[in-house]
């Protein structure tokens, strides 16, 4: 029988703290530094070692006694009884023993440390291959015991299912139930899965479920108001038909990807809507835009991805629109449409931001390199790109509900997460999500060699040098993983290597069917793999026997990303779990990153220095790169916090609509 509070809790969320600004933000950032100070880690390391020392107490205990003891701990955690903190060490030690018996894996001390870090609500930075799945599993047991909803957010459907199934024996043994949700799950399955103590799912699915529930609830989301209304209107169960049972604890895997890179990508529940006006006007706008010349009729602001129409542009538009009807009469609307068409032309390129599959524009996610078939750009832009590519223009979708990951994950009472790369964004994690970042040491010391950046004056010489390097390494029989930024770049490089008689495997948004196979073979001898960021996250490249002794996987990054975190993710593909590995980066002065964020004066100077090989050119280039990434990070952060502020403002301003998306 559901408890009286059951209905209440399944729709209640915490009210996120207001974003601070000015001096408040400064004080808050100091608080954040205090929360993630080094001594926290030291204390936790001691606690983990303490737990490790308890191991002998448990090794000889029988399964039945272990199960009873676990049940006892569960009761303590469930009732939130006084003193549960003191028995946490014991409990973790018991779970560890259970894990060893059920999964055959004995969690290392650093994994215990990770468990504690997650349970305390921190963001754990753990290197790749350190067993994050198990860490999340151990922490989930502690959370699951409380019977409050606990969600583990994985990167994709496959991992959600795999992890849930793999850890099920441990959960069963510890007395917690587990479920998982993938894109294919039916509503009934979703309901059941959310009803379990622990639910594995992806960020997309959980936000979609949340939004659907909100739509289902109608205009009133606030639990007290909903209850008062149901009392007054005599509805027995107002939560009927809802899928979720509330938000409480979340453990987010690859937290930086979900909480930062994807943060402002809103999840939208929408329906297609016939809109012929928009289709026509997009086509016309594209036709007019084709008559405009870059730099004469409009200017391109690279850094902010904006178009500015010049006076001569205005004149041309005025002339062209004279004969057109309706919305083309007045200046505002038509310039908006034309600017959009120009934006589509200047900033969106096939093979970079999107690919065309079956006559449809399909978005390629820039940070993960994967295609996102369901996603569309904001209203009008998607159509403008279709017009540019001469495809059939699709119907714009009408938004029914919309929520960004950023706002969603702020609603959890206890948020924690794991990722390989977090400390670059530590202040943002703290500022937006109140997540202090803690870096967890690796189990075995890393053997990754990082070679100096190689710097070139232009793309051609860079590509040649990359090809030579690949040939050189290939001749040594080592496996090579080459990282490119987009589909086009990966294909260009592959063609270049084929000219030299090599046979590289290509992994990108277009060629992604054989992903698992390509990754499985990437660690083999003599293997060359060219990949976009798709290979950057969650891929586990195992080395063929004997490769480790000869130097391990060789990672070559052909271009730096806007965020150093993504670079590091890619580096993390080699030298896992104490294996050796080598990383080198090739940089050209006309790389997009430098083009976009470094002022022209410095850029030109840098180009001269690099061409002439002046002493210190390398240092200058490295400084420029750091600066560019720094500016890029700031621009991106500003945009994200701007989106959050704007959302908050809209929420407040439109509070009369009742349908606050949160």
């Amino acid at each position: 029988m559901p408890l009286p509070t059951y209905d209440y809790r399944r729709t209640s969320t915490t009210t996120p703290d207001k974003l601070t600004a000015g001096i408040d933000a400064f004080v808050e950032s100091i608080a954040g530094r205090v929360r993630r100070r080094q001594s926290v880690l030291t204390t936790l390391v001691e606690e983990a070692q303490e737990i490790d020392r308890m191991a002998p107490d448990w090794t000889h205990v029988s399964d039945r006694v272990l199960r009873d003891r676990l049940a006892e701990y569960q009761r303590i955690f469930r009732r939130n009884r006084h003193g549960w903190e003191t028995c946490r060490g014991q409990a973790v030690a018991a779970i560890r023993e259970a894990a060893e018996r059920q999964l055959g894996l004995r969690p290392y001390v650093v994994q215990l440390l990770g468990t504690l870090v997650l349970h305390k609500g921190y963001l754990a930075e753990m290197a790749t291959g350190e067993g994050k799945t198990l860490v999340a599993g151990l922490a989930a047991v502690l959370a699951g015991w409380t019977k409050r909803p606990c969600h583990i957010i994985t990167v994709n459907d496959y991992l959600a299912q795999r992890d849930a199934e793999w850890l099920k024996p441990l959960y069963d043994f510890c007395g917690v139930s587990v479920g998982f949700i993938t894109g294919q799950s039916k509503p009934a399955e979703r309901f059941t899965a959310h009803d379990q103590d622990i639910t594995y799912t992806t960020s997309k699915e959980i936000v979609a479920d949340f939004l659907r529930d909100r739509l289902h609830m109608g205009t009133i989301h606030d639990p007290p108001r909903r209850h008062i209304r149901s009392l007054l209107q005599g509805q027995a169960r107002n939560s009927h038909g809802l899928v979720m049972r509330g938000l409480d604890t979340a453990i987010v895997d690859e937290a930086d990807s979900v909480l930062i890179d994807e943060a402002v990508t809103p999840l939208i529940i929408s329906r297609q809507q016939e809109n012929n006006d928009l289709k026509d006007s997009t086509t016309i706008a594209n036709r007019i835009a084709e008559k405009l010349k870059k730099d004469r009729d409009y200017k391109v602001v690279l850094r902010y991805k904006e178009i500015e129409i010049t006076d001569s542009g205005h004149a041309i538009i005025d002339a062209l629109c004279e004969q057109l009807p309706g919305i083309w009469r007045g200046p505002n609307r038509r310039e908006e449409l034309i600017t959009q068409a120009l934006t589509a032309r200047e900033f969106f390129h096939e093979g970079k931001q999107y690919v065309i599959q079956d006559d449809h524009v399909v978005i390629v996610d820039e940070s993960t390199g994967r295609i996102m078939p369901q996603r569309t750009w904001r209203q009008g832009l998607h159509q403008a790109i279709e017009a540019k590519e001469n495809l059939e223009i699709s119907n714009p979708s009408e938004t029914l509900a919309r929520l960004s990951f950023q706002r969603f994950f702020r609603l959890f009472r206890r948020l924690s997460g794991m990722t390989g790369t977090a400390h670059e964004a530590a202040s943002e994690f703290w500022h937006i999500y109140r997540l202090p970042v803690i870096k967890i040491p690796t189990n075995r010391p890393s053997q990754r060699r990082q070679l100096d950046n190689r710097i070139f004056a232009d793309q051609d010489s860079k590509r040649d040098a990359i090809a030579e390097e690949i040939v050189k390494l290939h001749n040594q029989g080592l496996p090579i993983l080459v990282g490119t930024r987009n589909v086009t770049a990966s294909e260009l490089l592959a063609a270049k290597l084929r000219e030299r008689g090599l046979e590289p495997a290509l992994l990108n948004a277009v060629h992604h069917q054989e992903e698992a196979q390509i990754i499985a073979q990437a660690g083999l001898k003599n293997r060359i793999t060219i990949a976009t960021n798709m290979a950057g996250r969650g891929t586990d490249i195992k080395l063929e026997k004997g490769i480790a002794e000869r130097g391990g996987l060789q990672v070559i990054l052909t271009e730096r990303h806007e965020s150093y975190r993504i670079d590091r993710q890619f580096y993390g593909r080699c030298a896992r779990q104490g294996d050796p590995g080598c990383v080198q980066t090739f940089i050209s002065v006309d790389d997009e990153l430098i083009n976009r964020f470094i002022p022209k004066v410095i850029r030109e100077n840098l180009a001269v220095c690099v061409t002439k090989r002046y002493p210190g050119y390398r240092q200058e280039a490295v400084v420029a790169l750091k600066l560019a990434q720094r500016i890029a990070r700031r621009v991106a952060y500003r945009q994200r916090s701007q989106v959050l502020k704007m959302d908050t403002w809209i929420d407040e301003a439109l509070s009369f609509t009742g349908s606050t998306s949160v």
Partner: protein, 717 residues
């Protein structure tokens, strides 16, 4: 918040809402600078909202039986280009919602409502605290009363009233001009402590009339007046009424009339007071009437009519120029100019529609800013003089609200304003640069430094003409203010007693002479004593005769015979030694200056580069100073009463001293020799100021010293 675009990602939030304006909301059309606007008015809570016609066209179509989406589609169809975009619609609806003008079906998010309420309360409190110098306490709803009075006074608010008003003002003006000297003389005493009560009574009376004026005229045009109360203007309780309903009047002349009504009524009352003042004998009524005249003229010009403060004049100007929200928009214009030109923020838009308007706004912004600072500094100094603590508190509030708050706002704006996203570094650089340059300039660039001291012109020779012998002034041979030569007979004093004495002594002398002859004849032994007696009597006689000579007062030098009280003395007994006048030699003058102790140190310390004297009434001309001499001793008697407070001068004098010559604190005297100016009438006792030029010194140092002197002098800090 956002760029105005046709589509908004948040549109779905309102697309299916059924929203309308509240039923009680009225819309009125108004023209500002020839442009059409719509003003929405909620009479229940006195909320106003100004909309562009395009926006109004959309808002007016909202009905509770149609969705926002339908209304938007329709308005898009009607005005494909002008119709507000989705972002605009969201913004307009949000603003209307915040102004409580919207009616909607769905119960609002109550948590958010409470949050908003709390925020508003907090804002009200802070604005009350910050505006403590203008705190308002509503007391009474005069609407009913006004409605009842109105029929009786209505005729007088029209043309008949105007005729009566003009005639009265003309008549009063005539009376005032006839008595102008008397009017002018008394102004000095208005702020005297003894008059403050009367002044305040007059102020309350006049201001009550003033406010009633606003209320009546507002009511005449149908505006409702619901609030009347007391405003603490700089801690002085004064009446006020809320006539804001006039803002929605369609005709701007009506709005101007309402705003001007206060002053019209006030001036009328002042005109009546002029008659009362002119035809009554000195007394309480007479003084009160005088005070009322004073208030109606001075306060009207300085405050009410002055558009630079936000009183009546501001609203009148605002309406005459057809530029509503002049104040706010002038601020916006200045922000825009800074952003656009200094910070290179291209997206900043001017609130002005035309270049003329932009200029007007900028000009107004600068002028009102400077004027406010002057007025408030004056008020603070004035209050601080009377009540030190209150003055300090006010100064603290002012520093907080005009220095600290804008500075933190500036820092926050520079650090976090989304408008500066693109040009933040330039904005910060420009601001820091300006501040640094300003500080460097003030701290290093030498400016001429000088200080002034009041003083009077004194003729170098001006011996007093003293009655050497007591007596009645019998005859004036030369009237005063005439040029006389040395030795010229000026006046004759009569002393009968002296005549008698002389006769007596002459008789004695004769007797003694006879006595001597007798003694010679008799070979008497007392010959020697008789001789000495004769000698003594002779001396006495000689003395008396000399005194008799002195009864005729002669000019002791050549010059102008100055004796202001001579006529009064005629026929009166003049004790010996009375100065009945002086003879002034006008060929050479010096300037006798009084330098306060605060400035004296600079007088002694630094090298004075030069000095010049300017005389009152002829400040355009100056007298070069050839040499000066500092008399190194503190003095406390002024060379002329004209320099002291009681004589209208600026040196603080001891109020207990009836002569008005004794200063409250000691000073140093400087005697400066001046050259005769050609255009300047030099005469003895003319007051003026001497300016000492000191070595150049940066302004910041000069200001710092002045502040220190001020504090030291006023508060001994």
């Amino acid at each position: 918040m956002a760029e105005s675009t046709a589509y908004s990602e948040s549109w779905y939030r309102i697309a299916n809402q059924r929203i309308s304006l509240r039923t009680q909301v009225h819309a009125k059309r108004q023209y500002f600078r020839g442009e059409k606007w719509f003003v929405l008015e909620d009479p229940f809570n006195n909320q106003y909202f100004r909309l562009r016609p395009e926006a109004y066209d959309f808002v007016a179509r909202l009905r509770s039986n149609r969705t926002v989406q339908e209304v938007w589609d329709e308005s898009l169809e009607r005005h494909p280009d002008d119709a507000p975009g989705q972002e605009d619609v969201i913004r307009i609806l949000a603003q209307l919602y915040h102004a409580n003008l919207l009616h909607f079906d769905v119960a609002a998010d109550s948590a958010k409502l409470f949050e908003r309420y709390k925020k508003r309360k907090r804002k009200e409190l802070t604005s009350k605290l910050l505006g403590i110098m203008f705190a308002r306490f509503p007391l009474y709803d005069p609407d009913d009363l006004l409605k009842r009075i109105l029929p009786f006074v209505k005729p007088f608010l029209g043309k008949i009233g105007a005729v009566i008003w003009i005639l009265t003002i003309l008549a009063a003006g005539k009376v005032a001009i006839e008595n102008f000297d008397a009017l002018k003389i008394r102004t000095d005493a208005v702020l005297a402590p003894g008059n403050l009560f009367l002044l305040y009574t007059g102020l309350v009376f006049i201001k009550t009339i003033h406010e009633i004026g606003h209320a009546l005229v507002c009511r005449k045009f149908g505006g409702e007046v619901h609030v009347m109360g007391v405003m603490l203007l700089v801690f002085t309780p004064l009446p006020y009424v809320d006539a804001t309903s006039s803002w929605s009047f369609r005709s701007r002349w009506e709005r101007v009339y309402v705003a001007a009504a206060g002053m019209i009524f006030e001036v009328f009352v002042a005109a009546c007071a002029t008659f009362v003042w002119a035809y009554t004998a000195p007394g309480a009524i007479h003084s009160l009437a005088y005070n009322m005249i004073f208030i109606a003229s001075v306060s009207t010009v300085l405050f009410n009519l002055n558009p630079l403060l936000r009183f009546d004049g501001y609203y009148i100007l605002s309406d005459l120029l057809d530029m509503p929200n002049l104040h706010t928009r002038s601020k916006q214009q200045m922000v825009h100019m800074t952003e656009h030109y200094a910070f290179g923020c291209k997206k900043s838009t001017s609130p002005a529609d035309t270049p003329t308007e932009a200029t007007a706004l900028a000009f107004f912004g600068v002028a009102s800013g400077i004027y406010r600072i002057i007025v408030f500094a004056g008020i603070i100094l004035f209050v601080a003089d009377k009540f030190l603590l209150a003055g300090l508190i006010m100064a603290a509030i002012c520093v907080f609200s005009w220095v600290l708050t804008p500075m933190t706002r500036l820092v926050r704006y520079l650090a976090a304003s989304p408008k500066l996203e693109r040009t933040r570094s330039r904005a910060v650089a420009v601001t820091v640069g300006v501040v640094v340059i300003l500080i460097l300039f003030l701290n290093h660039f030498p400016f001429p430094s000088h200080f002034r001291a009041p003083g009077v012109i004194e003729a170098i020779e001006h011996p007093f003409t003293v009655a050497e012998v007591s007596g009645y002034l019998a005859e004036i041979t030369v009237p005063a203010d005439q040029y006389v030569v040395h030795g010229q007979k000026l006046a004759i004093v009569e002393n009968k007693e002296l005549e008698f004495n002389i006769k007596n002594v002459q008789a004695q002398y004769r007797e003694a002479q006879l006595s001597l002859s007798r003694s010679l004849n008799n070979n008497s032994v007392d010959l020697a004593s008789t001789k000495s007696r004769i000698e003594a009597i002779g001396k006495q006689l000689h003395y008396l005769l000399a005194q008799k000579q002195a009864l005729t007062i002669t000019a002791n030098q050549t010059g102008v015979w100055t004796a202001p009280k001579l006529d009064e003395y005629l026929g009166m007994w003049i004790p010996r030694g009375t100065a009945i006048g002086q003879i002034i030699n006008e060929s050479e003058f010096h300037f006798s200056a009084t330098v306060s102790q605060e400035e004296a140190s600079r007088l002694f310390d630094s090298k004075i580069q030069g000095a010049e004297v300017r005389l009152r009434g002829q400040a355009a001309h100056f007298l070069p100073v050839t040499a000066f001499q500092i008399i190194p001793a503190e003095q406390d008697i002024l060379p002329s009463a004209a320099l002291g407070w009681s004589g209208g001068g600026e040196v603080e004098t001891d109020l207990a001293d009836p002569s008005g010559l004794r200063t409250a604190s000691t000073y140093f005297k400087v005697k400066a020799s001046v050259l005769n100016g050609e255009d300047i009438a030099m005469f003895h006792g003319r007051s003026g100021k001497i300016r000492f030029d000191l070595p150049t010194e940066p302004l910041l140092h000069q200001w710092y010293r002045k502040l220190r002197q001020l504090l030291l002098k006023r508060y001994q800090i």
